[in-house]
Amino acid sequence: MVGLVRTGTKNLRNLAVTVFFLTAPIFFAQANNVEEDSTETFKPGEMIMHHVQDTHEFHLWGELAMPLPVILWTDHGLDVFMSGGFYHGDGTVETSKGSYVMHHEKIYYAGVHGGEHGEAEEVHAAMPLDFSITRNVFSLLMSFALISWLFISIANSYKKRGSKSAPKGAQSFFEPIILFVRDDIVIPNIGEKKYEKYLPYILTLFFFIWINNLIGLVPFFPGGSNLSGNIAFTFTLSLLTYIIVQFSGNKAYWKHIFWMPGVPVPVRFILAPIELLGTVSKAFALMIRLFANITGGHIVVLSLASMVFLFKSYIVGGVVTPFVLFIMVLELLVAAIQAYVFALLTSLFIGMAVADDDHH
């Protein structure tokens, strides 16, 4: 009896799969017809790149976008205006200090050619220095305010109640995480004696990366900018780590780089440049890892979502939606893991730089 039921459900499942694969082409075929009819075809590559890159406006929904301030340092001094003009009309913005065009989110002086046609190929003009509040800068300022408010309020509640009494509210959520960073990341890698100097930096790093990763995963307005997947952002963080590691390096650290003990003298000359390059490549790998993980996650989610618009079918939508949900949940995990890995590797590198030279 049980066997019969089992074969019954198996047959049913086989039937469902067969029906799906038989009917799916019909829907795809319909989708193809629709696509030929419509004049404007959907280009997933362009959509994804637009979402992953930095922009001068903040897209809200549909056709609606929030213009952001453009701040330019031009030949005639500072020039500040809103970015709306670049996205509407002929795309040329004229102010009292000059006129500008934008091409692939880069702002140029509108030249003799570019001013009238605004065409991409004709823009060879020089670029003003761009200090605009772009989408990523907006997101950065927002997360800066959020993190400052959150952690200053937590610090104040420790000041008010003392570190011995039971934590309350946000304090009780963040205290285990802060203790985790201290006890499982910083102390095992840097050591009991020297960790206190570096703990604030690594805590800041951990929460800054984590919260910005999470803000990047929010699919609607205040979130959604790919800030922690921006190479300039990750470059700055890894540069800070690099500088801190080099400046906290003790005598043994530099000795192991330039004059490796226990190695024949001719080999030391070969090892020195390799070790010197190794200090840079560690920071470089930190930069690339965070950038590629976060940008890759955004691209995967957007590619899956754009399948719906490519095929224009309910069946594809029904299949893709759970997949997108799965990847989004995975990205929540990746957001925490990347913050953990960045903090862990930073404390590991600092620990290597400050380690006592006991074993020789």
Partner: protein, 65 residues
């Protein structure tokens, strides 16, 4: 041509997948042998996986950009 960079990126990912798979498998075996050392093994596992991943990203980045 977009085929050859694609194949190169795929090969880089293949290598990283093999490497991280070996790390994960060995870590599982190690944890099964010594469950009390789980946290230490996990930390070492994540560090080495992150290092391999970094190399894989070099491969993918140079292939695609």
């Amino acid at each position: 041509m977009t085929t050859i960079p694609g194949i190169a990126a795929g090969l880089a990912v293949l290598g990283a997948g093999l490497g991280i798979g070996r790390i994960g498998g060995s870590a599982m075996e190690a944890i099964a042998r010594q469950p009390e050392a789980t946290s230490k093994i996990q930390t070492a596992m994540i560090i080495s996986a992150a290092l391999i991943e970094g190399v894989a990203f070099f491969g993918v980045a140079t292939a695609l950009f």
